[in-house]
């Protein structure tokens, strides 16, 4: 792929959550102190309102002002929290694919490619074509995202996140809206892609099967 970027430094490419604590008013929702190694999945399980989505929002830089958070999240020693959201380079996947409805599939994917990865249109096209192949969706580049099936949209969303060359993946119940058999496929696809790229993955879910399929450590939040 020619896009290795992780081994440049000696420290392993893990995502470190140091005493991350999220509170709503005076109520502390969660406290986590944990390393997520490259290719590992940390699953945070809990019912809705347990603050698990706020954890991802905090790491990505979109925490609602109603919440307060403390602690730090670092990647190779660099604090992510100190950076602007767009400089953090953590890929977010939501319940919905959120493909930009005004762009074609190709435009959606090309939009995510950083300048450093492809300087010209030919290189972009190359990367997008590779990504579509990788997802088993060859030839769908010109389609309107709204005409894709749910499973296709999810896969495009994942490829879009990966094309942005994230340092870690944050998954916010990304399988919950898929049909049961599709869900199984999608889990496999997501985790295999993350492992292949040695990305630390943080998954929040309320579905025990998700946690099981992830195969990593599980943190259970109680209400």
């Amino acid at each position: 792929m020619g896009r290795e970027q992780t081994n440049a430094r000696t420290e392993p490419a893990s995502l470190r959550l140091s005493n991350v604590s999220i509170a709503l008013g005076s109520k502390t929702l969660l406290t986590i102190n944990q390393d997520v190694g490259p290719g590992d999945v940390l699953t945070v399980m809990g019912p809705s309102g347990s603050g698990k989505s706020s954890l991802l929002a905090f790491i990505a830089g979109f925490l609602d002002p109603a919440f307060t958070a403390s602690g730090d999240v670092t990647f190779q020693g660099e604090s992510l929290i100190a950076l602007a959201p767009e400089k953090r380079r953590v890929g977010l996947l939501f319940q919905d694919a959120l493909l930009f409805p005004h762009m074609s599939v190709y435009q959606n994917l090309a939009f995510a490619i950083p300048k450093s990865a492809a300087g010209n249109n030919a290189q972009r096209l190359e990367l997008v074509t590779q990504a579509l192949e990788n997802a088993g969706l060859e030839g769908l580049g010109d389609r309107d995202p709204e005409t894709l099936s749910g499973g296709q949209k999810s896969r495009i969303a994942l490829m879009r996140v990966l094309l942005a060359e994230p340092r870690a993946l944050l998954l916010d119940e990304p399988f919950s809206k898929l049909d049961a058999d599709l869900r199984q496929q999608m889990r496999q696809f997501v985790f295999s892609q993350a492992t292949k790229r040695n990305l630390p993955v943080l998954l929040v879910t309320h579905d025990a099967e998700d946690a099981e399929a992830a195969g990593g450590q599980i943190i259970r939040l109680v209400d």
Partner: protein, 560 residues
């Protein structure tokens, strides 16, 4: 840069109003050195109150403000109670929305052409039913009680209140409330009025106040339909302001302050009425009257609301017909033939007002949308919302009666030498365009799914690029609708345009209103037709541009 957007918006809205009010206040109390007023005195108030029939004018304005608002709000409320959640409601909603953009003056002319003694209704039933072969000598238009003027305002304000209530209804979960009430055995209308209406009303109060303020100080509709001897207060004020004897400016300013107090008093009366209704209402609620038999009331409310919408439509049609009419003598329901003659004859004359209207509308709309977007984007980035305070500020230009600050503003502009300049005109149009652009854009802006922006940012896309590439395109439709509304508001402005433009910048609206006294229906038809055509074209663009830009993108269809 973005940081300066909210303070700039405050300056654009509040600056002209406060400076204008102050500059009205000084001459009202006799201080205006340029005209030889060096001493503070109450003499101008004394001469104001000594004008013949002044209390009739004051009462007329007060009554117009309260009666118009009361009737239009009641009609809208009852219609919502009777029909919300039905197919009919959705149909009426589609019918009413485009009416919002038609300028007041055009609606007033439409009504006049319809119900005047020589109007279309009379032609339709004459001579068969009435026996008239000549228009009767009835004073329907310009009637001394101002009933026709109030009717014109009612049919024009209903679409506004309807759409404001509609937006509020979406926020208060009225469907659920109504279902609960129905399951408790309440009739449809009673259930809605007891549960949903108080919540909706709380949200639309400022808009209702704006209607009171507008109706109690209206000039253009009053010039077309209102009583003439004496006129409502605001019309008389304009007369004094335009008097060749410049000392009348003092009296006009004093009158503008009275107008300010009058509108304030109307609002106070309304607040008192609110209290009273609340007490009566709570009394009813605690008695638990179910009022299940409301069929007749439902049909009546449906009929009356649709009638008001229909009147605008028919009025607009008649305006159009007149502008193309060949010979059309009295009892004939239609002209003998159609001709382009009036259009050809007016083409040269209409060119300048048309261009001024268009350019003024476009420039003030573009500035307004830029300010609104900058403020909203700033809000999105900082997470700080202006809240209710900023909403009140947005309604400020709509709640303060126009003469009260426009008189002063005119003199202020005069003294710094920018009166009658095009930029002064843009400044004063912005005061009215910005609130509407802001109000119509802020709901869809806030309804935007922020996760699109988050997803983009997590891909390393910077804030500015997210704004231009994601948020703007996704909100293109509501942005263009907000612009179309702003454009329509600019086109409809009468008083700000005549006062600040001082005749140097004729617009379709100022020209049309000026034609009112002449009464040449064919020429009025041409102007009024153009007056409604321009806003309509704005809305056509707002619908067509997204459809064209996003052709083949199913996800971009319908309201974003």
């Amino acid at each position: 840069m973005l940081r300066f957007a909210p303070p700039f918006a405050v300056l654009v809205l509040a600056g002209p109003i406060f400076c204008g009010l102050l500059a009205t206040l000084l001459p009202a109390f006799g201080y205006f050195p340029a005209l030889g007023g060096h001493h503070v005195t109450l003499i101008h108030f004394a001469s104001f109150f000594a004008e013949p029939g002044i209390w009739i004018s004051i009462s007329l304005s007060l009554a117009t403000g309260l009666v118009t608002t009361g009737i239009s709000l009641c009609l809208v409320m009852l219609f919502f109670a009777a029909w919300s959640g039905t197919k009919l409601f959705i149909r009426v909603q589609h019918l009413v929305s485009p009416l919002l953009s038609i300028p007041h003056a055009a609606v007033a002319f439409g009504l006049a052409f319809m119900i005047a003694p020589s109007g279309w209704i009379m032609r339709l039933i004459s001579p068969e039913l009435t026996g008239f072969t000549r228009p009767p000598d009835w004073q329907i238009i310009n009637d001394p009680m101002g009933l026709t003027m109030m009717a014109g305002l009612v049919i024009k304000e209903i679409p506004f209140l309807f759409l404001v209530c509609l937006a509020a209804m979406g926020q208060v979960r009225s469907v659920e409330h109504s279902k609960v009430a129905t399951s408790l055995g309440y009739g449809r209308m009673a259930g809605f009025l007891f549960t949903s209406w108080p919540l909706i009303y709380r949200q639309v109060r400022l808009a209702v106040f704006a209607v009171i303020a507008y109706a109690s100080s209206v000039v253009d509709v009053a010039l077309i339909l209102g009583p003439t001897n004496p006129e409502p207060l605001a019309v008389r004020l304009i007369g004094w302001l335009n008097d060749p004897d410049l000392t009348f400016r003092f009296q006009a300013s004093a009158g503008a302050i009275v107008q300010f107090l009058l509108t304030g008093f109307a609002l106070l009366v309304w607040l008192g009425a609110e209290r009273l209704v609340k007490i009566l209402f709570e009394n009813r609620v605690s008695k638990g009257a179910r009022v299940q038999k409301d069929k007749l009331a439902r049909y009546l409310s449906g009929f009356s609301l649709m009638l008001t919408a229909l009147m605008i439509f028919i009025g607009m049609t008649i305006l159009g017909i007149w502008s193309f009419a060949a010979y059309w003598s009295f009892p004939d329901a239609l002209p003998r033939g159609f001709t382009l003659y009036h259009w050809q004859r007016q083409l040269a004359a209409v060119g300048t007002p048309f261009r001024v209207t268009l350019i003024l509308g476009l420039i003030s709309t573009l500035i307004a949308i830029a300010i609104a977007l900058a403020c909203l984007e700033r809000e999105a980035r900082t997470g700080k919302t202006g809240g209710y305070r900023s909403l009140q500020l947005l309604y400020l230009p709509l709640i303060i009666p126009q003469p009260a600050f426009l008189f002063g503003l005119q003199m202020l502009f005069l003294s710094i030498g920018i009166n009658t300049s095009f930029s002064a005109l843009v400044i004063v149009h912005l005061v009215f365009v910005l609130p509407y652009v802001f109000l119509s854009l802020s709901d869809p802006w806030r309804a935007y799914d922020k996760r699109y922006s988050w997803a983009a940012a997590s891909m390393g896309i910077g804030e500015n690029r997210v704004f231009w590439r994601i948020r703007m395109p996704l909100l293109l439709r509501p942005i263009l609708v907000a612009m179309a509304i702003g454009f329509a508001v600019s086109i409809g402005q009468y008083l700000p345009t005549v006062l600040i433009g001082a005749g140097r910048w004729p617009t379709l609206t100022t020209e049309a209103v000026a034609l009112a006294s002449g009464g040449d229906r064919r020429v009025i038809g041409v102007y009024a037709f153009l007056q409604m055509l321009l806003p309509f074209l704005g809305f056509v663009c707002a619908a067509a541009i997204p459809a064209f830009v996003f052709a083949g993108r199913k996800g971009m269809k319908g309201g974003a």
